[in-house]
Symmetry: C2
Subunit: 338 residues, 2 copies
DNA sequence: CTGTTAGCGCGTTCAC
DNA sequence: GTGAACGCGCTAACAG
């Protein structure tokens, strides 16, 4: 790559001073129309592209908001990324997305890379990074976190989380209301807060409804499809009287669905099934899967706006993400109810 | 954000000159161990983070590879993003991802933003940007394109594309081989090259097999699920003797699947179904969907390596992406075959 | 309105 | 080994 054209070269070509070119580029001050035209021509002729580094160095601001995502290919977090993009649009800021692959070391590396690039704000999606490290960053710049509980109040940051426990409770209560009495749960990995909360919600809902919690009705998966398939088989072996399954996420529900299909069991006639997360595909499974939707895009957008607001010194308006039960066709009523 | 600590502040704190600190940071030259230790302490104490802008400005290299993706939330292209990440890993380069939302204007804006940030290479995934603009960029830096046909040879770039036509032919030939004689096609939007090629492959396969191509067996969709659902219904109304469907992508196949489900038609017993793209979910639909897999991650990784190689002045080894027929359980044999 | 001057934070000669 | 001086490309005061 041949050395790029500089602003002063443009200035020389147009017969004006560098500052004039700068002023035209930034609209910082009114300039003579004639000169403006000449400068534009020179820019065109030389194929000038402004150097963002030099600019940032001089102005002291990067125009970048860092985004740390656990996985660039996660359908779940990517909705949040879309929201962040939308929230940043037209603000003059652009996102710099780095993924941490759920590994603390990589996440820390990513954050320091972002700090090196002088991001002016940071949005963290999920991940494993220790709370105190997040707070350290939050002390320096506006930070918004999505999908994990971090106390950032004293540091001037926010964490948007969903009430996994409550939603799980709602889901299971719904199943009970439809007449189900023997409800299995395919849980997520128990070192994961969300997974624990969803299991807790399941248990609490059962007890609130006067049903006994039985450990044998729970199998643990890893949030991936295969574990849902295996879990379903195990559950079926243990409890022939099972009529409904609550999977801790949609992916495992898909796995369970396939296990049932292979056994010739119909959903929802023979077995009701319910998931969590409402992946884009879930409205087109057969039958469409009931699940709970987290407004990832809205949350992402709000976080972007939050960071921008803080950058402008505004006090942000609060936001309460609302999870939504997406009731579709994967649950049937059992006779003998009510 | 309080002004960040600079290198010279570290130098002063450690009682050495800025250049010494720089040398230690970069390992550019051997320095006294004692001083090195003092500098490290100063860095620690002051919480110094290096300014990537100043560094890039001084060195003249950004360490960034730009990535233009049509949609940050597309499951299809995101596999490629993962591959790019992997390909860049450990190279000292990091990706800067911007999405163009399938809009030419936004894409152009994104590219100029990347150019401003002095990316040293560029990877373009799909999109709508005119070929000549891509060539213009390719004349300045290493460019790799994925998923669209662009002639970049004379500009020193590559475009990785898949043979959609051939794969579609293989798929349809496979259906015919399994005894199907009346095969419907839900096509993609015909202003889209991939969609056209897949339709052509369908048609050619039919003719090669001695079956007549009938326009009434084709309905046009838009690559989204709902259009697959509607298309399926329309096809069924026109041709009661239909035994198999080739959908131009998996998403439409999902829609078709649901339409069949609602009508009480079984897959594959009553209707065989086949898609294209092999989305992550397709191995867990009921039944698992036959499709054709494009090695997006591998292609992304290769492109990253390609760009890095060009940056180092190497001549890249060629790469022929191979599509793979993923034959699963959504196709049945019809009696009377062979 | 416009040109001149002085940095922004860092890497890199070039002398010592 | 190490420091001083200069420049990377641009913006922002400061005069005019």
């Amino acid at each position: 790559m041949t050395r790029a054209v500089t602003l002063s070269e443009v200035a020389r070509e147009a017969g004006v001073s560098p500052s004039t070119v700068s002023r035209i580029l930034n609209g910082t001050a009114r300039v003579n129309d004639d000169k403006a035209r000449q400068v534009r021509q020179a820019i065109e002729k030389l194929g000038y592209t402004r150097n963002a580094f030099a600019r940032s160095l001089a102005t002291g601001s990067s125009g970048i908001v860092g985004v740390l995502t656990p996985d660039i290919a996660s359908p779940f977090y990517n909705d949040a990324l879309s929201g962040i993009e939308r929230g940043l649009m037209g603000s003059g800021f652009s996102p710099l997305i780095i993924s941490g692959h759920w590994r603390t070391g990589e996440e820390e590396h990513a954050v320091s890379l972002l700090l090196n690039r002088r991001v002016e704000g940071l949005i963290i999606l999920g991940g494993q990074m220790p709370d105190h490290e997040i707070r350290e960053v939050a002390a320096r710049l506006p930070v918004g976190v999505l999908g994990r509980e971090v106390d950032l109040k004293d540091w001037g940051g926010v964490a948007l989380t969903m009430d996994n426990r409550q939603s799980a409770r709602d889901l299971v209560t719904y199943l009970v209301g439809r007449g189900h009495r023997v409800i299995g749960h395919i849980s997520g990995p128990q070192d994961h807060t969300d997974a624990r909360d969803r299991l807790r919600g399941y248990r609490e809902a059962l007890e609130e409804c006067g049903l006994r919690f039985q450990p044998s009705l729970v199998v643990q998966g890893d949030f991936q499809e295969p574990s849902g398939l295996i879990g379903m088989q195990r559950l079926l072996n243990r409890h022939a009287d099972l009529t409904a399954i609550f999977a801790a996420n949609d992916q495992m529900a898909y796995g369970a669905r396939l296990a049932l299909h292979r056994l010739g069991l119909r959903v929802p006639e023979d077995m009701s099934l319910i998931g969590f997360d409402d992946l884009p595909g879930s409205s087109y499974t057969t039958p469409p899967l009931s699940s709970v939707r987290q407004p990832m895009a809205e949350m992402g957008q709000w976080l972007a706006r939050y960071v921008l607001g803080r950058l402008r010194g505004e006090t942000p308006e609060p936001f309460a993400p609302r999870q939504e039960l997406m009731l579709r066709e994967s649950v049937a009523s059992r006779r003998g109810t009510h």
